[in-house]
Symmetry: C2
Subunit: 461 residues, 2 copies
């Protein structure tokens, strides 16, 4: 494909994308295909000779679309939202064309420097304390990870390296394996699966702390557990704290960069974090943290993947540094070499999409978007409140959900808190409006669902 053909096909693809997103309501959010459906539609090997563009292009509708779960259909209320915006798509085209691998400053200075800048911009939008940011000139600094799972893992590995280093300074003859076996990390019993996985990968014990009836982690439960573990000779070193709660009274945080009792606190605000750009949705964040993460790709109109993490950059990079000659350059130390800040070596130019979105929406545009979704959630809450049949619990819920999903007009998934199953109704697509929420509710009623997640949803922004 030469440049002229690319110009032509590029226009076709841009128009296809605009058509797809503008008419996405006409497609079922959940496809009706069965496992293995695609095998029948494609040959079992790649072609020997080049195929025509027309044939590939028309296969998007013939082969791909029948099996797509349309996450941006306004009636997709499953899992969690993932962002998608025209500015984000345009920035990604540029990122693909530049196609640099920004593992170090020298490997593409703009790739590193724009990331440094937009991470500071994001930190300021969320009103995070300056000490978490580059501009403080201190230990803070941000990086774009692929997902919150990776951010949690990076935090845990950094904490592991830090505690081992600290203990070795005290006792150089330390048996590292013995120390590893005594390390304990903590999370709530409602934590995301990625936290448990981080413990598995890092080969450290991850203890789940039981939450109270409001699914909150009580400070006292954690303190008791830590004290009891220390008494047993264990070494508490890491705590994952998910922030999904909103406190209407807290308009600012009083969080500091640092450890408390030698425990590295990682704040995971993957979904909720984007809402913190609205002062009225900021949570009550107090105390010390070493790392903070949220996903602009969830609720800030930045296309997946973009997980924004700010932290003690020195300790994070120390945990990963392996520095062969061919990756070194004369300007080391003046700007971050992001290869030391995460798992992969290579990295795409992801800050471009954050930059485009922040500039083309502006803070006001993004706040408006967040507030609209919260308003829609309240509208749904009111529908539920007005119907006495809801808030009943039962065990047939899973089947009913399948019924809804088979119907195909809306899509949502079940979840579970402690022993209670519930439906998770999430406002996901940027195009979801009041009528969609009404429609979803009518469908809920129609199949006589027995439980609804509204109250839960309201609290777990």
């Amino acid at each position: 494909m030469d440049a002229d053909e690319f110009r032509k096909r590029g226009r076709e693809m841009i128009d296809y994308v605009a058509d797809y997103l503008e008419n996405i309501r006409d497609r079922r959010p959940l496809p009706s295909v069965q496992p293995g459906f695609m095998k029948e539609l494609l040959p079992d090997h790649a072609p020997e000779n080049p195929e025509k563009w027309e044939d590939v292009f028309k296969d998007i509708e013939r082969v791909i679309m029948p099996g797509v779960t349309h996450w941006h259909n306004p009636q997709f209320h499953a899992y969690f939202p993932t962002s998608n915006s025209y500015p984000g798509i345009l920035a990604d085209i540029l990122s693909d064309a530049i196609g640099c691998i920004g593992f170090s400053w020298a490997s593409s200075p703009s790739c590193t420097e724009l990331e440094v800048i937009v991470m500071d911009w994001l930190g300021k939008l969320l009103d995070l304390p300056k000490e978490f940011l580059f501009c403080s000139g201190g230990r803070g600094g941000g990086v774009i990870q692929g997902t919150a799972s990776e951010a949690t893992l990076v935090a845990l590995l950094s904490a592991r390296s830090h505690v081992l280093h600290r203990l070795k300074e005290k006792d150089p003859n330390l048996n590292e394996a013995h120390v590893m076996s005594r390390l304990v990390a903590y999370c709530s019993d409602q934590s995301h699966s990625s936290v448990e996985r981080a413990g598995l990968i890092g080969a450290v014990q991850m203890k789940k702390i039981e939450t109270d009836e409001k699914s909150s982690l009580r400070g006292s439960s954690l303190r008791d557990m830590i004290e009891s573990d220390q008494a047993k000779g264990l070494i508490p070193f890491f705590r994952n704290q998910a922030y999904s709660r909103v406190n209407n009274k807290a308009l600012c945080y009083s969080i500091k960069l640092g450890e408390q009792n030698n425990i590295w606190m990682h704040i995971d605000a993957a979904y909720a974090g984007s809402a913190f750009i609205c002062p009225e949705f900021r949570p009550l964040l107090n105390g010390y943290a070493m790392s903070f993460n949220f996903n602009p790709h969830k609720w800030m109109l930045v296309n997946f993947d973009c997980s924004a993490m700010v932290k003690d950059s020195k300790l994070v990079s120390e945990a990963f540094t392996v520095d062969p000659l061919y990756l070194q350059h004369e300007n080391q130390g003046k700007m971050p070499d992001y290869r030391h800040w995460h798992i992969p070596l290579g990295r795409r130019f992801r800050s471009l999409k954050v930059w485009f979105v922040l500039r083309l929406y502006g803070l006001k545009g993004l706040q408006e978007y967040i507030r609209k979704d919260v308003r829609l959630a309240h509208e749904f809450e009111n529908f539920v409140k007005d119907d006495n049949r809801f808030e009943i619990f039962g065990e047939v819920i899973l089947g009913l959900i399948e019924a809804i999903n088979d119907d195909g007009r809306i899509h949502l998934v079940p979840s579970k808190v402690k022993d209670t199953y519930f439906l998770r109704f999430a406002i996901c697509a940027s195009r979801t409006n009041s009528d969609d929420v009404k429609f979803a509710w009518e469908n809920y009623k129609f199949v006589h669902l027995i439980l609804c997640i509204c109250k839960q949803y309201k609290n777990t922004l």
Copy 2:
């Protein structure tokens, strides 16, 4: 930005990209900016109100481009190649628009099924034994990882989980920490930094085996080391084998899926693997392996990121499985749930770009591309052979390289094998041709470089 504006701006961006790539020779491969350059060009916070497209768009040239290292400039010969092609860019636009998070089959069936299919296509193009592929109906199967670093880590973690599981079956009261401290992994002393990092992250000892004068790992050195480690009570469990060598006589492999002596062999053919689509470049691969990885994003015209890994899928997924209710679905087990196959939970629809590239180039087009690059490398080799001043070693090379890079017309980086520094001359950009190679050579001569990497390069395809 509404759909109409997106159509308009999309065309502008497509044209910008075509112009950028067609005229990339006019830009210096290595920029001349200093660390911190961008801070002066941008405000220190995101805008309050939306900005105009025109202002953002013109900042691509004002702010971004001055600091871009142009990896696709034909005179970029640094690090390693990264692919870029028009079909790959077009597929990524579609992937961004669909914007699904394909962590399970149900979360977007097409995202999983196309990946299953193109991974089989790739395996067949490389003539890998069927038992590594889905279509065998056995334990094999492929997955797209982000980078080779992640593939190596996933292999090592799977091997770690597997050996712990095996030993626990023998002795349920096993002290896991004690076993962890006795696990040993092996790689060559020429291995990529990511291998050492995988050992660090997985908290296992990674031993580097000394290579011979040809930088080859001798089987006997490894055997000796393993036997000596076993005699000390250690548990050898993992071996990373980089394949960067080509054997002109080997037109097929005799590799099997499985372990030998309970050691998980991971084959990392990140760069060279793409060349295996040409029978004449296939290496002598014998024996057993549990996982094999190569990067279509390096040398197969698929835009970064796309690292293709085939392996024992059962053992890999077992190492990572944490399976909360809200991610489960009724069709589990019939098709892979890729979230169990790698570190992140979320994943983009990356198989689309592999599919577009394989179909729009065809096997023949891709072979032609690989063979052209090999031809260019030989042309460069001949220039060097004809000049007696080369093959001299010296310690001033680093300074000279900086001289070349300051000059800015070509870009390459130094490397080191054992105690010898050398220049790494890599054919990277798809647009590099004979004239570019001649130009690069004239520049080499011009600054009287003292060493050249041609011979090395020829052997390390």
